[in-house]
Amino acid sequence: MSPDPAQAHETPRARETSRTHDNPRAHESARRLAPARMLDIDPLLDDPETRIVVCCGSGGVGKTTTAAALGLRAAERGRKVVVLTIDPARRLAQSMGIDSLDNVPRRVKGTEGGGELHAMMLDMKRTFDEVVEAHADPERAAAILANPFYQSLSAGFAGTQEYMAMEKLGQLRARDEWDLIVVDTPPSRSALDFLDAPKRLGSFLDGRLIRLLTAPAKLGGRAGMKFLNVGMTMMTGTLGKLLGGQLLKDVQTFVAAMDTTFGGFRTRADATYKLLQAPGTAFLVVAAPERDALREAAYFVERLAAEKMPLAGLVLNRVHGSGAGHLSAERALAAAENLEESRIVDQEDGKEPCNSPDTYGGSDSPSSHPDPGATRADTPAPTGTDAPPDTDAPASADAPDPDPSVDQVTAGLLRLHAERMQLLFREQRTRDRFTALHPEVAVAEVAALPGDVHDLSGLRDIGNKLADNRRELPEPSA
């Protein structure tokens, strides 16, 4: 496939153009309901106003890799970038040369261009500890850190990771050291957890019950509270029975200590929330062209809109293409069957030309390219120019190739192609469903890679694909 000049950027600053624009073949066979808008990554990354990019989406769609690739691309285009990853696969961390990723941004070596890339991995316990240490005097901080309830909460509370990711983002942004912060989001069971968790943790720690539990310690002795205290005693009694009295006492001392040391979790949660809504933040929803992932992406798009959070677009990873998109699955399969049948026929009564209904040429002349010694290496790559009139003929019966194993290989290649085309068609259908629901969302597509990314050049490659995703579009089938 070669770049189609008609599809080149006409307005480089525009974030999107019509995807099938000016491609007559696409018009003929367009199956999509409406052309999806193109997400142009580079203007987004280059814009000095863009300070935060958040990559979100369900698990297993390549979110972290996308975040790292975007960070690298922005850095190599001259910006000073930090990538905050949550739980990178070992290989990905290594690809940035930092297998010892920790809670502090580290400079990534080997980047090209004038910018800088830093990377870090969120350590939620460490981040929580830092918050405590920053806001309490050393003695009180030590007491909180040693509290068993704190230890359980900081290490395991559902949502702590999400909350701490937001906390870290707030810290990084406040330092104003970087032009651009790229954030990966935690691998939650649902992409929406990421938006819900900070509030949940905030409201949990600031909640009525916790206030009640801690009230006696703070208000003790005040006459008006007597009635409440009776109720409290009953309540704490029941909970104490259930959980063991020690735990409840731990919670009480913990919350009292936390409350006096920093001004309420909710305030902090709200502040990070506002940061996400502010101009300069761009959300990218990451998905794969699969039913569940795109359904999740659609939920997320709706949710971001409801929360007034700025969505830049959808990154669709692992999209398949084909260089032979004009050969449909059906024809490829029919041709494969032809080859396998003719092998049987060959064994019985010699070769017989087998014509599928789609045979192009009409002449029976033998192939004028009898070059049995040609190897793959000295055959030039096919050019992607417009199809010349195809006047040459199918190979005739006496073509000098008696080797049946070639037909076997060819049939295999055709079956492989048919499988690819079926996959491609399914992916397109899934994408179309999303586009129909959300035609306003700009999309960038990234071609599927056979393996994982192992180094910076692999990340750079993904960055290139992200920025120039038009070429990865499969040719529409004829």
Partner: protein, 325 residues
Amino acid sequence: MSRLQVVSGKGGTGKTTVAAALALALATAGKRTLLVEVEGRQGIAQLFETEALPYEERKIAVAPGGGEVYALAIDPEQALLDYLQMFYKLGSAGRALKKLGAIDFATTIAPGLRDVLLTGKACEAVRRKDRGGRFVYDYVVMDAPPTGRITRFLNVNDEVAGLAKIGPIHNQAQAVMRVLKSAETAVHLVTLLEEMPVQETVDGIAELRAARLPVGRVVVNMVRPQVLDAEDLELVRTVPRAALARSLSSAGLGGARRGGNAERLVEPLLGQAEEYAERYTLEEEQRSELGELGLPLHELPLFAEGMDLAGLYELATELRKQGMS
């Protein structure tokens, strides 16, 4: 065969599907199984194409041979209320506690407590007997949290020990651990033939073993059909392009001459074969890595069109054929 079958796996590997197929497979021949969901995502209801499951055991499928599959989506809050009711006869006080947020508080306050309630409910179903002294369920299959959290989830004893040193929750945790660490339980991990899920499976098994939790089997899910084998791939590497072009042409795909339709297919088709070969090698590597675990290995085919009820029954048959039930 262990009576509590726990199914975990990296997110996106299809562990809910495998758990459901296993429940079906175990229910054949007149047995009764309970399929338990603990993460409140209603994945089972989606899979069996029924409305959302309430917090009650409900028959959702009939297996070949008259077996039955029941399903239960455990809600930790409801489980806690049940539990309080059972031990303290709380009555309406339970509702009052809920209103105050105390139940929400108690189930979120400590992840360990939540997990004790979830695993406790499953263990209760495993041990439950009818009046005649027979087990109510022959098998209980749990669609468990993902690999990254499974050891922590099952190892409730350690989790809770630091928080609730005494009291009924502590005792409950002890009872649950007795079931989970016994031969009555088997923990299976679902994976794909890809680097990250395989790595996570290997790590997860090491963790489970370190915690002395009984590891069962590894299920490789969504295995793609083999279109070309190693021999074909070798031929692909050596075959002359011109011969391929002629072969394509003889199959009716146009001219073999340079620039002809058949000839122009050669390059892209070989490109696709190269990608396939790369994936093939990668998959073989992952397969051998899984082989080194020394655990029974099962492979389930990919349903390219997506999973549905018919596919689920096919997977169940496949699991039975492979001796997993």
